[in-house]
């Protein structure tokens, strides 16, 4: 099972890590570059968040090995996502509640 990883297997992993590393660096510079373009507030927020999500997914999928994780972990994370969405209701609720003075 979770025993000795064969040398080739690990070698393959390591190659993925390096590729991901390069991609993360590239995306970091892309996001900084985009912010220099002074796009509209809305566009820049959307773009920056999309890039952040891609970077985050790369880290989670490859460094944290989520891509080949056990079902149970997916379950726990799905639950968290559900509650996270609940949490994001909070600003929505707040905005609808608030009546500015």
């Amino acid at each position: 099972m979770h025993q000795e990883h064969s040398a080739e297997e690990v070698q393959k992993h390591v190659r993925t890590y390096l590729v991901v590393f390069v991609m993360l660096l590239a995306l970091t510079f892309v996001t900084v570059a985009i912010s220099r373009l002074h796009l509209g507030v809305f566009q820049s927020i959307v773009l920056a968040l999309i890039i952040a999500c891609i970077k985050g997914s790369l880290v989670a999928l490859f460094f944290m090995h989520l891509i080949s994780e056990k079902k149970l972990i997916y379950g726990a994370l799905a639950l968290t996502v559900a509650f996270f969405i609940g949490l994001m209701f909070l600003p929505v609720g707040q905005m609808i509640t608030a009546v500015a003075l």
Binding site: Q3, L72, L79, T80, A82, F83, G86, L87, F89, L90, V92, G93, Q94, I96, T97, A98, V99, L101
Partner: protein, 586 residues
Amino acid sequence: MSSGHHEHSEQQEHHAEPGFWQKYVFSTDHKVIGLQYGFTALCFLFFGFLLMLLMRWQLAFPGQALPVIGKFFSDSSMPGGIMLPEFYNSLGAMHGTIMVFLGVVPLAVGAFGNYVMPLQIGAVDMAFPKINMASYWAFFVGGVVMLVSFFVPGGAANSGWTSYPPLAELATTGQTLWLLGMVFLITSSLLGSVNFIVTIIQLRVKGLSFMRLPFFVWAQFVTAFLLLLAFPPLEAAGVLQLMDRLAGSSFFLPSGLVVSGQLMHNSGGGTPILWQHLFWFLAHPEVYVLILPALGIVAEIIANNTRKPLWGYKSMVYSLIFLGFMSFIVWAHHMFMTGMGTVINAFFQTTTMIISVPSVIVLSCLFLSLWGGSIRFNTPMLFALAFLPMFGIGGLTGLPLGLTTTDLHLHDTYYVIGHFHYVVAPGTIFALFAGIYYWFPKATGRKMNEVLGKLHFIGSFIFINGVFMPMFIQGLAGVSRRLFDGGASYYHAGPVLKLNVMMSVSAWCLALAQLPFIINFFYSMFAGEKVTSDNPWQSTTLEWATPTPPPHGNFTFTPEVVRGPYEYSVPGESSDFLPQYQPVKG
């Protein structure tokens, strides 16, 4: 697998007897930790109750000096024995905080969860014994910080257990300690909940599938998820309020505040409502944390003492899970009167009505489980039975609060106080008493005295209703909560004002009614009737398969589960109970 070898060598390494400190103070044994939690939590419950007894004097006889005890208080709280409003508010806030975070949760989850749950799943200990110990000590430190806050200048936190800003941010040092204390308590709960979930998922013995788990374990499982995912937002909120108090930021303070005629020079831009959202995002799930373990205890005891399986076990489990889910999206029903639009209001009203349905199902199942039983009325069963209608009253009175139309009149009145005390006091506290009487023989090898137990039950039952029933009347009359004079300033409170005296007297009698319990508890610990069997209640679940009291490591054999949790009175069997671990015949 190479691990077998290491396990062996580890056993060889440590067989020296642990010393006193390691055995009783810094123990990693889940049972010792459970007892530590239990004892500390009982003390806090008692302390929280004492605070309330003081408050009830002021409510019954506003402005009159408290006889005898009054003179022992400092001039900054009760000069001449007469309570100051600031002190009343401190007592109220600390009563709420202590009861919820230092009393009921540690007792229901920390003590019962820790002691019973691993036994019921046949585990040798929790998955992370050291983390388990750490979570007890984090709780302990949190408790000490809370207690210390009574002695700082300005007294303890006095802005309600809800700590709404801006009031809480204008408050004295006590509030800072309250926040620090909460950070410790939250940390403790987070560590604990990770431990519980991992233990339940990983350490179930062979054959114990999820649908064979005792209902109590299910309750702890769902509770742990609530703690795990709902507490962090309060931790965030606590950090933000600490920043506001200590670093001068304005997360919860809008611009242009004028306090006592003085313009505040804060940067502004924050909003007090944000705190309420973050607080209730935790605190609504938290109230289910208060009730679910209680339901679990009651379910165990009812199955055992009706000598029949729980009726509708599966639908109870599914209701529980559904309840857990829903509890995350009802929080704003505590905020109906903050000025909400139709849509958001309709949303939260609807979810609140929906969440009442699984509660109705669980309660119905428990009621129906009684049908066809052979009911034994021992002390644990009496408390468990009384729980049902008491939780029923508390739950039912949640309905008018959940509908905005009626909450419009009832919000922040004593009706709310009545509602939730029915669920937590004659509800949860009764269930916890039931649990203490029920599992006491396992933990100590002695039974608690039945006569004292029944005395405790009758006294508690009568007087606790005497305290809380009149609250609905006061609430309907429109009497606000947290009133220092119990409503004497208001015309509309006039007709129901005299109830205050009756409620206070009931509260003091309720305190007296606890004496048989306290005596019983200590007496039975040392001199109670010894149990002759490891399974004195003739129960089916695994905790009764251990020696009494269970040694470190719990089981003397490796249990294997072959059937569901409540196989009582199975037709064609000679014994009226079939333990989960008893091998199938033939």
